[in-house]
């Protein structure tokens, strides 16, 4: 009843376009309101616009439309402000698309323009134009857009399209429009699809068999284990395996080939031809979940090695030889075209095992083995081996859990090893972006070297409460000692405990060490700048990691990691 009346009302309202939707979503602070607003938009938007809006809101972008450097230059020509002034503005605003919108101003007399027109008449031609054509086309575009159209337009142009709408909430809204299961929607909007071709009806319409063809399922995600593991009950009801430090992927196989999908909905198969080459050996109608790992003859290699393969399409034979990879499989989602996700985990696992058992040896595809234990205490001790093994800790999967879409508490847990920590002092600060624009929230951190000099080792952004952020911001503003581009050097005085996942030696960093995922654990107000950690310690962590891997985690003849 209630919803009907809302719909009645929305029909009576003046037609609202994508720009209005964008600004409303941007201003709304409550999830429920955002979903209702999207429903309202999708119900009244022209089909073509609704398709494009779904695609953009799902986080897709038209790549390579314009370079930000060019954009700044043309914005400078348009507005008459020098480029350095535009950069100053950007620093203050913390968002390039917004900065440009404020500077360009827009055409108050322009007519509203539909989203599909913006895409088809402006964005797509821009993506294919050469530099001078681009400048002209952009000028014409600016003439056609109202002030309120500029921000969404520049967001589409620069690619960063974040307005507080998660994919899950987008699915909920589309599901309500089409009265279909959000999980089906999630699958339909995953992966690579062309909103210029796919009709909105195909996104929100009733389920069809082709729905699942070679598109990934929504990934099942694990929650961090925050209580004692014994609170999970009997260990017999759980499955433990190592938490691999690679790229989470779904490997899909159909008659015309295989595909690899990351959690970010990127199709990365082209970068890993040795995995796609497995396709003829695997059954069709298959979807397995697992991890791509860097894996040499000596066994698993650190994540950083994998980066040599990422983003490199169709790698040559020498890279393939020097930087080999493997697919570590741990779940089975679809087999012979049948969705297995609602089977209990152990059943899925058994099917996965028997399927892989039929494969001849020597393939870069293997099964993630269980970490078996008699009780939680013993398992906890095994978990301590994680760092030596180059894994992030343990995964705990409830034996009877289905493969859910997203994070369902109680099914999957990640039981990571405790991070490394080190005390570091803030020596630089930079204004943040988005919600933290105009607050010094990005910090450069230093430790002491052997001469007792501070040496920069990391940057960290997150981990402080709003109140702490404010206080640190106040300190920074009072203690600025110099300016290097957007970075202010700061008189040492604030010490943070920094957590990080690992260290490795690095020739590109002045300090000689690079930290992985550094973040602020807490503010050590009890510590003075001369009490921070030493560079020697950090280098020690890095050498430790490298030594372990040189010693080699033990492998069997097939190159499988031996666990015990």
């Amino acid at each position: 009843m209630a919803r009907e009346s809302v719909r009645e009302k929305s029909r009576g309202e003046k037609m609202k376009g994508f720009s209005e939707l964008f600004h409303d979503l941007d201003e709304m602070t409550k999830t429920g309101e955002r979903i209702a607003r999207m429903v309202n938009y999708f119900e009244q938007a022209p089909e073509k616009d609704a398709s494009w809006a779904s695609w953009f809101l799902a986080g897709n972008r038209i790549k390579g439309v314009v370079k930000t450097g060019e954009l700044r230059e043309w914005a400078s020509q348009r507005s008459g402000w020098p480029v350095w002034l535009i950069d100053e503005c950007y620093e203050r605003v913390g968002d390039l698309a917004e900065t440009l919108s404020l500077l360009i101003g827009g055409n108050k007399k322009a007519d509203p323009i539909s989203l599909s027109k913006v895409v088809e008449e402006i964005l797509l031609p821009l993506a294919h134009a050469d530099r001078s054509e681009k400048a002209e086309a952009l000028k014409r575009a600016w003439d056609r857009l109202r002030p309120m159209d500029l921000l969404p337009f520049h967001k589409l142009l620069t690619g960063g399209f974040r307005i507080g709408v998660s994919r899950g909430n987008l699915c909920k809204a589309l599901a309500e429009v089409g009265q279909v299961d959000p999980a089906i929607i999630a699958q339909r909007i995953s992966g690579d699809w062309d909103p210029g071709i796919r009709k909105f009806e195909q996104i929100v319409g009733d389920e069809r068999p082709e729905d699942s063809w070679c598109r990934p399922f929504p990934f099942c995600l694990a929650s961090p284990l925050q209580e004692e593991p014994s609170s999970l009950g009997d260990l017999k009801d759980w499955w433990a395996e190592w938490k691999w430090d690679g790229i989470r992927c779904q490997f899909l196989n159909e008659e015309n080939g295989g595909m690899l999908w990351t959690r970010g909905d990127e199709s990365v198969g082209e970068s890993f031809p040795e995995l796609l080459n497995l396709s003829p050996h695997l059954p069709t109608g298959l979807a397995i979940d697992g991890e791509i790992l860097a894996w040499g003859p000596e066994g698993m290699r650190p994540f950083s090695r994998l980066q040599k393969r990422l983003g490199r399409k169709e790698p040559g034979p020498s890279v393939l030889k020097k930087e080999p990879v493997r697919f570590m499989a741990y779940d089975l989602l679809k087999m012979e075209g049948v969705d297995m996700r609602t089977l209990p985990f152990l059943d899925r696992r058994k099917r996965l095992e028997s399927m892989l058992a039929e494969l001849p040896g020597g393939f870069p595809l293997q099964l993630s083995m269980p970490v078996e234990s008699t009780d939680w205490e013993k398992l906890a001790r095994q978990r301590e081996e994680s760092r030596d093994r180059g894994v992030e800790g343990l995964m705990l999967k409830r034996a009877d859990s289905i493969y859910s879409s997203g994070r369902v508490k109680g099914d999957w847990y990640k039981w990571k090893v405790d991070p490394y920590v080190a005390d570091m002092v803030v020596v630089g600060a930079q204004l943040g972006h988005g919600k933290r624009a105009n607050i010094y929230s990005d910090y450069t951190l230093a430790v002491l070297d052997q001469q007792g000099e501070l040496v920069t080792v990391a940057k960290a952004y997150s981990g402080l409460s709003d109140a702490e952020l404010k206080e640190v911001d106040r300190y920074v503003r009072k203690n600025i000692t110099g300016k290097f581009g957007p970075v202010r050097s700061v008189r040492p005085g604030i010490v943070f405990e920094i957590a990080f996942e690992g260290a490795r030696s690095s020739g590109r960093h002045k300090s000689g060490v690079a930290l992985r995922f550094p973040r602020i654990q807490r503010w050590r107000q009890d510590k003075k700048p001369d009490e921070v950690d030493t560079l020697e310690n950090l280098l020690g962590y890095a050498q430790m990691g490298e030594r372990v891997r040189e010693d080699g985690t033990k492998t069997d003849d097939a190159g499988n990691l031996l666990l015990f």
């Binding site: 941007d26 201003e27 709304m28 602070t29 507005s79 402000w81 020098p82 350095w84 002034l85 100053e88 503005c89 203050r92 605003v93 913390g94 968002d95 917004e98 900065t99 404020l102 500077l103 101003g105 972006h433 988005g434 919600k435 933290r436 624009a437 105009n438 607050i439 503003r477």
Partner: protein, 313 residues
Amino acid sequence: MAFLSILGGGWIKPLVTHAHSDHARPGHGNYLVSESCLPLLKLRLGQDIRAEGIAYGKVCKIGDAHVSFHPAGHILGSSQIRVEVGGRVWVVSGDYKPQPDQSCEAFELVKCDVFVSECTFGLPVYRWQEEEIIHQQINAWWQENVEAGRPSMLFAYSLGKAQRVLRGLDSSIGPIFAHGAVHPFLPVYEKCGVQFPRVQKPKEGSGEWAGSMIVAPPAVEDAGWTRRFKGASRGFASGWMAVRGARRRRNLDRGFVLSDHADWSGLLEVIKGTGAECIKLTHGNGEPLARYLQERGVDASMLDGSGERTGEE
């Protein structure tokens, strides 16, 4: 601090541009302010302070200096202060805006040799729309909230911005309330001819707030005081709202870009208009503006000792 002490012939005289707390500091004697600023200053610093009001444009002699006050268009009674010594003229702008504002005296352009200018919004991303448009936006938002059955909570600085906002409210939409910090200034404004709709104190209300407009200073934003207005949509009227990050950081539902300071083009226009050969910038991050002026051959620099600005008052 933007009050001015003139040292000359043994005189030290605090000249105060306007009654905002970052300009009108307590602890001095014998303040000199504009006539319409005087009652506001006393409300802020106490009725027993020694202070004197002077008519706009009237010249008084302090030591060797000829001093006069001129409307700055920032809030009621706000002044630029002109100081002439030995034929050389300095103008200290205090806070100012050349844009029209129905709640205070209109800005007056004063020719000078040295212009000490504020630069709170010294970047071209800041440009204001006519105030009528903003009043319409506020009223439309209020109307939406009435239809949704929720109160509207609008944050605005208690002196100046709150009165400007109140003056533009359409009382046919619903009842209007203001925080206690806002009320004392209303009679002063009314005496100067500014008309307000009926503004009540929350304690005079029925306790049913749906559909009401409540104007309050941002200082109470997180305080218990706001809790009674359950389900209120929260807006903020300030020049800082031109940037989304500022609104999102405060977790506001709406930001209204209404400022009592000059925007970028206002700053440029006034700086040029004064004909000053030397520009000294204060109250803001003025480096970009200084550089921009320097590149155009103007002798502009930051005034020593002026810090980065975070509040807007």
